[in-house]
């Protein structure tokens, strides 16, 4: 299958996120929680409209791709996540950008690193 030309591709937005929790969470656990949260809040149809996809996740920070009209909905769905892999956690959106590079450079590399052990109960 050929890649669609850029004019025909669906527009996307990239959410730079960080996970605040007592101990580190794995990529698989985060993906499971993201889909559980969106599925619970919007159902299958709403989830597919959001088009969430975890692109990169390392050291509690990552980039999530979503549809460009669904940024607020995606943010709300991520805010409803309260446990990841059985432990309490917060998914905090650091910022939204139009490119992966923008999201990474602006929000992940420049962000002050929040050490999870320092904000645990």
């Amino acid at each position: 299958m050929k890649t669609l030309p850029s004019s025909l591709r669906e527009r996307k937005r990239y959410l730079a996120i960080e996970v605040i929790s007592k101990s580190d969470v794995t990529r698989e656990e985060l993906i499971r929680e993201i889909f559980a949260a969106t599925g619970s809040l919007y159902g299958d149809i709403g989830s597919s409209e959001c088009g969430l996809r975890l692109l990169d996740f390392e050291k509690q920070k990552g980039v999530i791709r979503c549809s460009h009209m669904m940024t607020e909905r995606s943010r709300a769905a991520l805010a409803t996540i309260n446990t990841i892999g059985g432990q309490r956690a917060i998914v905090h959106v650091l910022g939204i950008s139009g490119t992966v590079q923008g999201a990474t450079q602006k929000y992940i590399q420049c962000a002050t690193i929040s050490r999870p052990e320092h904000i645990s109960i």
Partner: protein, 241 residues
């Protein structure tokens, strides 16, 4: 006072100064400029109303949430706690209690529980609250904590309250209602969650900035005031005369 986003209803009381520091650092990291720590009167230990150190970069306010089933006793609670805290919130429930709460001048915020049959915000309470400048709490924490049917009912109730608040021009306060630091969410997340029940971005921003700041300003005495009605006169004026 620091201008910016406020989460007025954090319902967890940190045990020590270290836990408090963690809470403040997390709130700052999430993007808040101020927060209100709520203590409930039905707490088994009773509320500890010690004053907290005022941080120039973060506005930490003390609040009290009054739980009282008997509307006749509500007034005595309000008179007792009013001078000791920065703001007073009354937890509603029954119609009589809600009406008693919005008929006093001591109440700053009215908080209504979810899922209680035959209770909630009606046009009478909304009008009274609007007349007396009492704000209505929109706790989006229930959208975070609940799943399934309970969340569906919560969204429906919040939609109904928003409709009445808009119609009667009741002040709104958007809060996370956090029971622990892991229930806290950033201002942009709270705006997105408020959008789920139809609150616009402008309304949500006002409910986290202007309204909380006005509530806190009402009780804080401006510079020069020693107590209500007593201002320290400028000595220079008298010396010149």
């Amino acid at each position: 006072m620091v201008e910016g986003y406020y989460d007025l209803c954090i319902r967890c009381l940190p045990e020590d100064d270290i836990a408090m520091e963690r809470l403040v650092s997390l709130a700052k990291h999430l993007g808040f400029n101020g927060a209100g720590i709520m203590q409930a009167t039905n707490n088994s230990k009773g509320p500890t109303l010690k004053s907290r150190s005022f941080n120039a970069y973060f506005d930490l306010a003390n609040g009290i949430e009054i739980y009282e089933d008997n509307p006749a006793k509500l007034h005595s609670h309000l008179v007792r706690y009013d001078p000791k805290v920065n703001f007073v919130m009354v937890r509603g429930g029954t119609d009589k209690l809600d009406r008693a709460a919005v008929e006093t001048t001591y109440t700053d915020i009215l908080s209504l529980p979810f899922g209680i049959k035959g209770s909630g915000l009606d046009h009478v309470i909304a009008r009274s609250a609007s007349d007396r400048g009492i704000a209505l709490e929109f706790d989006v924490g229930s959208l975070i904590r609940y799943r399934g049917g309970k969340r569906v009912h919560t969204i429906t109730e919040l939609e109904q309250r928003l409709m009445l608040a808009r119609k009667f021009k009741v002040h709104m306060v958007l809060t996370s209602g956090a029971r622990s630091i892991y229930d806290m969410r950033g201002p942009r997340e709270l705006i997105a969650l408020a959008g789920l029940f139809g609150m616009t971005k402008e309304e949500a921003i006002k409910a986290m900035t202007v309204t909380p700041a006005a509530i806190l300003k009402k009780r804080r005495l401006p510079g020069g005031f020693i107590m209500k009605g007593v201002e320290l006169a400028n000595e220079r004026i008298y010396s010149e005369e």
